[in-house]
Symmetry: C2
């Protein structure tokens, strides 16, 4: 009898799901953003929460659904803007959420309504895109279910966001970065897995301070994140990174991972033990719970690319029905050597579009832009630059000034299309490190095909310093045509481009002393940021803005214009 | 020869001064507001500076001059607004600088121009009036020289602002105050005299922390403030308080002070050894340098009214030509006993208008409003209230919503005109401590005469707790008609009002378990805040807004409307 009822309920549920499958829905969210004290890694500090949480609520939607987020800013004196990372905003460039590019910031007390369609299945993110507020904890997941079957199957579906975590406020960090002398943010205090980490409070022992009042390792809030699996089953793990700084490796003790999705695109499956992941990237991996089911296992994340001073982040892979709090009997597996670039480059090269889901790129491009990443001095301030120009956001968002021909609103001199490929020595810093700052943008012909080559170089005087920069593009996906070591060769390297099955992504690493080549179609009317996803780097000027098809846009919503003169 | 040249230069200087005396000037300032690391009390923290300084630059002007401040907000994600404390803004209510009342906040990157006339001589202040930003260090002095002779003379003129100082950020403090459970800001870490104090860094000794990197008692930045005097000369010391919380006593070792000005009005002179001063008040005192000139003396400030947990603030009165850094040979004099209300009440009662500068109040008033100060619970949050109603600022500033009849912008139900004088027991907290929150305002008939009686009471369940609240009125001065102990008697007490020579002020203390009676003329078209000047108390709802003569206002400047929908 019970079984019959269960089956009946199940059938009703399945038919409800089917109804869902055929009709795009409007999914409405009411979010309140405010400061709260939280202890994500046991250390108590102010964070920016969404409805009381960091990470914020997960948006669960289906392909072609419309998402409506009523966002109330309950910060006291600070504005806010939220970016929908990976959502292309076709037809709604004003709801991209990028302060200074697509909208004015949302004032305290104001309610702003974001409304956009999630037109592709996959794993996406949202986070603050104003000042350095992302680091204050304002971020979360977007998961879009497909209308059509996927090229793989699984029993369970989970999302985790990896992050690094600082104890200083974003105000303190930003002030240090824009001071003379320059004060670097330094390495993060901990790594978070889905918002949970563990800082070693005993480091803070001070006779006169009541350390346990602000650092308490016994708080349930900072107990390890638990991922429960059923033995024998396969689960899909959607892994994203929103680190402020760190490049990461992620692994699950004793379990291989099959990479099947990257930034919302299906990948020709390949198996890894360590998944390297950079800020702004999302992956889906399949994991089979096929190990000894009588115990739990570690899931760990480690810093790579920079000398790690931050302890690994630890979560528990819990085999049901073991106690989820039971620690694994083994030591957490060590991460890969931080400075070994080759396996990271190899992973980048291994990511190809799934054979049944390949969209070949246009065979040739209309325009090539070279971007050299360097650190410069601008009026004595340390800044990141692209082709020696450090990016400054204007007061009036580009979308508004472009649409309304406000030519005074930003620098009209076009920024450089490249750098001197012949003479520039990427292994040395130039004698003259001075650069300029500008709010100029790259205007792209509508529907043109654009190639971008990002070039890394030695960036300061200390040792052999070139680092991975994850570059992220708003409003588009791009084809990843190739990665290379050393200086890009404009004649030889393009012949090696993958034009057959390149993966499409929105975030891509540029490896130390290497280059990365991308192609995209400028087919989305609007103004779109393209920047290093490291929070401090973009703050220090490591970004550009593309604009295309502005003339095709209708009237802009007045809600985005809160900072434009009356 | 040299003497002749000197005399000549002096004559030229004097004639320049004379030119200044006959013609009102426009005084222009360009200010940039931003976050910087400073160590006002040796402890390094983020502060909000004006042109790199806290306290900010002093505005020196003459009666009837026009002040133009071009204020650039260079904070990263925070808005700002600056209030011109004590300036009545006759004809320019939109430049009062009170966020939520007279203007929208100024966005990051925006430049806002304040333009107003300083129409009376005296000692005034400016400070942030948005969130709790005043405490972050955004404050300074305004000194307005008279056109006519003053009723006293002196050789030198100096301004100092007293303040208390916290090491937590204003974001942290505000979050604690609006949390459940409530987190009080606690006592300040130090007292500052003209922006300088001394925190005892050795309290922070921690083996693993590099304390000297953020707390260093040897920094010149936190050396004591030095007030240099020439033996035998008289100097005018303009003393103001902008404390976040503390009521203070100020004294100069071995020197009496003659009080001659209060909040821009001449006082019938009286002599004190300790000057009691509350947040928002300004005084001028005359001091004669008539003590042993071979040594220096302490100037000290101490917490009164609350059990002091903060060490005294110390400055040096330096007799020229002694070394200004030479510490006085004696111990700093102790302050008065913190809980002794009588001398503080006596000082309040001693302050009368100077006999030659008396403006008698209208003999009767058109309206009496009683304000009972209590602490209530509003939906479980701890809040300060006036007549059981806790004040909430609306999103659209009153000046804009009143002028444009936006009746949805704030609560239209008038707030209570008083409380039950007969039944309310000021010595006990009520059984039901619940209150409500409201953005309703008091509408005053234009040119009517309004009496306000502020009543203090026991405010929480612990011991004998009633505290001094300094109430400050925007846009007007009021006559201080009387102070009393215990519950106000509506029939007997008004007969004792001083209608002959009451001082006019803009800030007045309400003593523990006491009342204070004021009278003012509602003759300044605009919307004006009236609130406890303790930063956390106003944040917790201890304030009201008056509006009068809105129909007489011309078009509002569009620059104040940055937060109003497009």
């Amino acid at each position: 009898m019970m079984l019959k009822l269960f089956t009946l309920l199940n059938l009703i549920f399945i038919s409800l799901v089917n109804v869902q499958l055929v009709e795009a829905k409007i999914r409405r969210y009411k979010w309140e953003v405010k400061y709260e004290y939280k202890s994500p890694d046991c250390f108590r500090k102010l964070v920016i929460t969404v409805n009381g949480r960091t990470p914020g609520p997960t948006i669960l939607a289906k392909e072609n659904d419309t998402i409506v987020v009523e966002l109330k800013n309950s910060l006291l004196t600070e504005n806010v803007a939220i970016y929908w990372h990976g959502i292309r905003q076709k037809g709604t460039p004003w709801f991209d959420g990028t302060e200074g590019v697509t909208q004015c910031p949302i004032l305290p007390g104001e309610t702003f309504i974001y409304r956009f369609v999630v037109d592709r299945p996959g794993t996406y993110l949202y986070h603050a895109h104003y000042g350095m507020q992302r680091e204050a904890g304002l971020y979360g997941s977007i998961r879009v279910a497909p209308e059509k079957p996927e090229p793989f199957s699984y029993d369970y579906d989970r999302s985790i966001i990896l992050n690094d975590w600082y104890h200083k406020s974003t105000h303190e960090q930003a002030t240090g970065l824009s001071s003379i002398p320059f004060q670097w943010v330094e390495e993060p205090q901990s790594l978070l897995i889905q918002g949970k980490g563990k800082f070693n409070c005993s480091q803070l022992t001070a006779p006169s301070l009541n350390v346990s009042s602000f650092c308490d390792a016994s708080k349930p809030e900072c107990s390890p994140y638990v991922l429960t699996v059923v033995p024998g089953k396969t689960f899909r793990l959607r892994i994203s990174s929103l680190t402020a700084l760190s490049a990461l490796s992620f692994q699950i003790e004793g379990h291989n991972m099959t990479v099947v999705e990257a930034d919302g695109h299906y990948v020709e499956p390949f198996v890894v033990q360590n998944l390297f992941i950079y800020s702004g990237e999302t992956y889906s991996v399949l994991i089979k719970a096929d190990q000894d089911p009588s115990r739990n296992y570690w899931a760990t994340t480690n810093v790579v690319n920079r000398p790690p001073k931050t302890p690994p982040g630890l979560a528990i892979l819990n085999y049901y029905p073991n106690n989820p709090k039971r620690l694994p009997p083994t030591a957490p597996p060590p991460g890969p050597y931080w400075d070994d670039v080759q396996p990271r480059l190899n992973q980048s090269l291994a990511i190809k579009a799934h054979q049944n889901f390949t969209t070949p790129p246009p065979p040739i491009s209309d325009r090539l832009i070279l971007f050299l990443n360097t650190q410069n001095l601008v009026n004595g301030y340390r800044r990141w630059s692209v082709n020696n120009v450090s990016f400054n956001l204007p007061n009036i968002p580009y979308l508004i000034s472009l649409k309304n021909d406000l030519t005074q609103a930003f620098d009209q001199t076009p920024p450089p299309n490249g750098f001197n490929l012949t003479s520039y020595d990427i292994y040395n810093i130039p004698e003259n490190r001075n650069g300029t700052a500008s709010s100029a943008i790259y205007r792209l012909s509508f529907n043109s095909t654009v190639d971008i080559v990002l070039q890394n170089a030695k960036y300061n005087e200390n040792g052999s310093t070139s680092e991975t920069h994850p570059w992220h593009l708003h409003g588009h996906d791009f084809w990843v045509l190739g990665y290379g070591e050393g200086k890009f060769d404009m004649y030889k390297d393009p012949r090696k481009y993958n034009l057959v099955n390149p993966i499409m992504k929105n975030t891509v690493p540029v490896h130390p002393y290497g280059w990365t080549a991308l192609r995209f179609q400028a087919d989305n009317p609007g103004a779109w940021a393209f920047h290093c996803h490291i929070e401090s780097h973009f703050y220090m000027g490591m970004g550009v803005v593309f604009a295309e098809g502005i003339e095709r846009l209708g009237k802009l919503p007045s809600s985005i214009m809160g900072c434009v003169g009356h």
